[in-house]
């Protein structure tokens, strides 16, 4: 028996099911599934440049006969939507599982998006586990299902499943036989043969509708209380917490739904509660079956994450106990850029220049918060450069696009190519911190290493950017405030597209952590209490009654605050 998170258990389940190849792109809360899979020797696993690429790689491997998996967070499926919608027309050869992790409550996401609708549009079956033990079993079941119906299968996870540890009994790996690929173009060259495949897809769905009636993961817990509840996944745990004696229909397969069994179940009760997280997907399906005696989203919000408290409130009307914030000042604690974060120097320069900044997704998104407030838009990965082009077209003259290295390779590059092609004088600042910081330091094609820890060719950004036609390319050290500001200014003055590469490692990378650096200190006698240093927004710098102090255990000696000090009152500690 082992204590495992849902993510670890899904990796275990895939390994046991004989998965041979897995690809993905990092995204909380899905990331650890691929990281854990990569720890198994038998599994060939790697990070792809983005989710569409990862999907197509895993899809190719599945067509080629190897059980394969692709992992992503919910918004990743937007990027991979194109192959996701078309692949079902052909159907897979070997088992193919698409792990998609939704993030109700947006703990680390830009939106709430219920992936079940995606699967319905693509006509792909969905399995959703309710705890780690089930995550292990359902992952194996997903591979079986995929091969039996030759369909991609969505394994849907949520933040709570992914990040909750519970007991799991591990099993053994069973190698899956390789299924040779047969070159039937009528099956796999979709655009030419789509009309035929379209009809077959409906037949397949009809067979899946029969399968779901028998699926063992759709179970009814008979209870003694005369109350009927339909639920799924993590909300099942809340339902059991609140009313352990209700009769509960727990759905393990979320699409297609077992219509006959649900009709029968709902006939047993005057009213049935549908307790589901995010949108009223099941509730809407039930309505489409003509089942009318259900109460769902009217009582259980579609906003944010559910909880036992919210389920109880929905079932009984009992109020949810408030926190103490009306009685005492519970100050918010927003996340901050780390001490010594190389992004900080760029924001300092951008703030001084007062330009309009289109941002992107990564740690640097925090640049929109005080004291910098130097990012003015952020939407989705890769948007910064193309958005900047649009602002130029709308008449804005000084626009800077800020983008991280992982994000640039994920989906920023096409925007830059378009800017060059269309002669838009965009200035891009590429924040090359040598890692995918936000999601916990994954390797990417620019870092020189793979997920398995092998060395790899690293993208040469300068050569790449020049090759697509950007003539003004400059590399700066973002710890050097003056040079950084000067470089961005020069980029803005250049008449065509310009690229500034701000290059310095993330402070949390092991190579950086291992390095001993001299912390800085404030010479209070010299300090004129002007608060300029606080503009750095560094968490190692705190304001006390008589002036600033530097926590020497947090300071990594980047010297940013010292550069901001007009009277040289901040010095390296050994000098003091």
């Amino acid at each position: 028996m082992r204590l495992m998170s849902g993510n670890e258990a899904m990796a275990l389940g895939a390994w046991e099911a004989g998965v041979a190849f897995a690809a993905g792109y990092p995204g909380t809360p899905s990331t650890e599934v691929l990281e854990r899979l990569a720890e198994y020797e038998e599994v060939d696993a790697h990070w792809a440049t983005n989710e569409k690429v990862a999907f197509e790689e895993a899809m190719g491997a599945a067509l080629g006969g190897a059980r394969s998996m692709v992992t992503m967070k919910h918004v990743g499926l937007n990027v991979a939507a194109d192959p996701f919608m078309v692949f079902p027309y052909a159907g897979t050869n070997a088992g193919f599982v698409v792990l998609v992790a939704d993030d109700p409550g947006m703990y680390s996401s830009q939106n709430e998006q219920d992936s079940r609708y995606f699967a319905k549009v693509a006509k792909v079956p969905i399995l959703e586990p309710a705890d780690a033990a089930e995550a292990r079993r359902f992952t194996a079941a997903a591979f079986e299902l995929s091969e039996r119906f030759r369909t991609p299968v969505m394994l849907r996870s949520t933040t709570r499943l992914a990040h909750t540890r519970s007991r799991v009994e591990p099993g053994e790996r069973r190698e899956a036989d390789r299924q040779p690929f047969s070159r039937q173009v009528s099956q796999f060259a979709i655009p030419v043969y789509a009309r035929f495949r379209r009809v077959e897809l409906e037949d397949k769905l009809a067979r899946l509708r029969e399968f779901t009636e028998e699926f063992q993961g759709n179970v009814v817990d008979e209870g003694s209380d005369p109350i009927g509840i339909v639920t799924h996944g993590i909300p099942y745990q809340y339902v059991k917490e609140v009313c352990p004696n209700a009769t509960v229909f727990k759905l393990g397969m979320l699409y297609p739904l077992p219509r006959r069994r649900l009709e029968e179940f709902c006939r047993r009760f005057d009213t049935v509660f549908v307790v589901e997280e995010s949108e009223g997907f099941v509730e809407q399906e039930l309505a489409s079956f003509g089942i009318r005696n259900v109460i769902g989203k009217a009582r259980f919000t579609n906003v944010g994450e559910l909880s036992a408290d919210l389920v109880k409130a929905g079932l009984t009307g009992a109020p949810v106990r408030p926190d103490f914030s009306t009685d005492i000042a519970i100050l918010p604690r927003p996340p901050v850029l780390c001490a010594g974060c190389p992004h900080r120097g760029v924001f300092n320069a951008l703030k001084k220049l007062g330009v309009l900044v289109t941002g992107d997704i990564g740690c640097y998104t925090l640049g929109c918060l005080p004291p910098y407030e130097a990012i003015h838009t952020t939407f989705c990965m890769g948007a910064s450069i193309a958005n900047a082009t649009g602002f130029h077209r709308a008449g804005e003259e000084r626009v800077v696009a800020v983008i991280g290295d992982s994000t640039f390779l994920h989906s920023g590059l096409p925007g830059l190519v378009s800017a060059v092609y269309n002669r838009v004088p965009t200035t891009m600042v590429l924040l090359d911190n040598g890692t995918t910081g936000m999601t916990g330091h994954q390797e990417h094609p620019g870092t020189g290493h793979t997920l398995k820890g092998d060395t790899a060719p690293a993208v040469n950004y300068e050569a790449l950017i020049r090759a697509i036609g950007v003539q003004h390319v400059e590399v700066v050290d973002p710890w050097d405030l003056e040079s950084t500001e000067r470089a961005i200014r020069a980029g803005l003055e250049h008449s065509g597209p310009a690229a500034i590469i701000a290059r310095r490692h993330c402070r949390l990378l092991p190579v950086e952590k291992a390095e001993q650096r001299t912390p800085y200190t404030v010479v209070l006698d010299e300090c004129i209490v002007c608060e300029e240093c606080m503009e750095s927004g560094c968490p190692a710098l705190v304001w006390e009654d008589d002036g600033p102090r530097i926590h020497d255990w947090e300071c990594v000696g980047c010297s940013l605050c010292a550069q901001l000090c007009p009277v040289d009152a901040i010095v390296a500690a050994e000098v003091a």
């Binding site: 909380t28 680390s108 909750t164 408030p322 926190d323 103490f324 005492i328 604690r333 996340p335 968490p539």
Partner: protein, 207 residues
């Protein structure tokens, strides 16, 4: 047999998650069903982090309902206030005597001065421990989480050898001795801070 609910709260980087993993592992080894749910935002960049560890015969929800937590461990005072509504009226709150000023975004109110008094007024049994200083004296302020965990261990019926094995299994070798000593210091600090074993509701369950 009722479920025991523990909430551990702190600031990103303080070891909140590791402490809750250790507790969850120890509870599993002691024979309980366990759920450990952790709650945090973007890769823990100094934000608020909390975790629920629940153990007993059968545990469902990863998060304990509000007003049901038996023991709250707070590595920082403001974080103790933030999650205090989860603690049950007779619950125990173990607080590290430590403050981390949050970065201000449109909230200029001062850091609350009377956090502990406030918690006491709610009827909770509040035990203040100087965990960060104790850990610093032992060699690394980051072991404050182990100090608090040691104090909690005084309230629970998890055998000492289970704790010992759990630390060995989970803590990296180079930090093991530090964490062992921090854990032991937490146990004695609690006895000094007013003891625990005399509390009637201190241990509400057994394996």
């Amino acid at each position: 047999m009722p479920v025991t609910n523990v909430l551990i709260a702190g600031v990103g980087g303080q070891g909140t998650i590791l402490a809750s993993e250790l507790l969850a592992m120890a509870a599993m080894t002691a024979g309980y069903d366990v759920k450990q749910g952790e709650f945090h935002g973007v890769a823990q960049r100094g934000g608020s982090v909390f975790s629920h560890v629940r153990f007993g015969e059968r545990v469902y929800s990863p998060m304990a309902p509000r007003g049901s937590v038996d023991y709250m461990l707070a590595l920082e005072q403001l974080e103790a206030l933030r999650y205090a509504h989860f603690v049950k009226p007779t619950g125990t709150v173990l607080v590290n005597d430590h403050r981390v000023e949050p970065i201000r975004v449109a909230d200029e109110r001062p850091y609350p001065e009377n956090a502990m008094g406030f918690l006491g007024q709610q009827g909770f049994r509040v035990v203040m421990l100087d965990a960060t200083r104790t850990a610093l004296e032992l060699g690394n302020y980051r072991a404050a989480n182990a100090v608090l965990l040691g104090a909690l261990a005084e309230f629970l019926e998890i055998p000492g050898e289970v704790w010992e094995r759990t630390l060995e299994e989970r803590v990296p070798t180079r930090l093991l001795e530090l964490n062992r000593r921090a854990f032991a210091a937490g146990r004695t600090a609690l006895t000094r801070a007013g003891g625990s074993t005399a509390l009637p509701d201190a241990t509400s369950s057994s394996p």
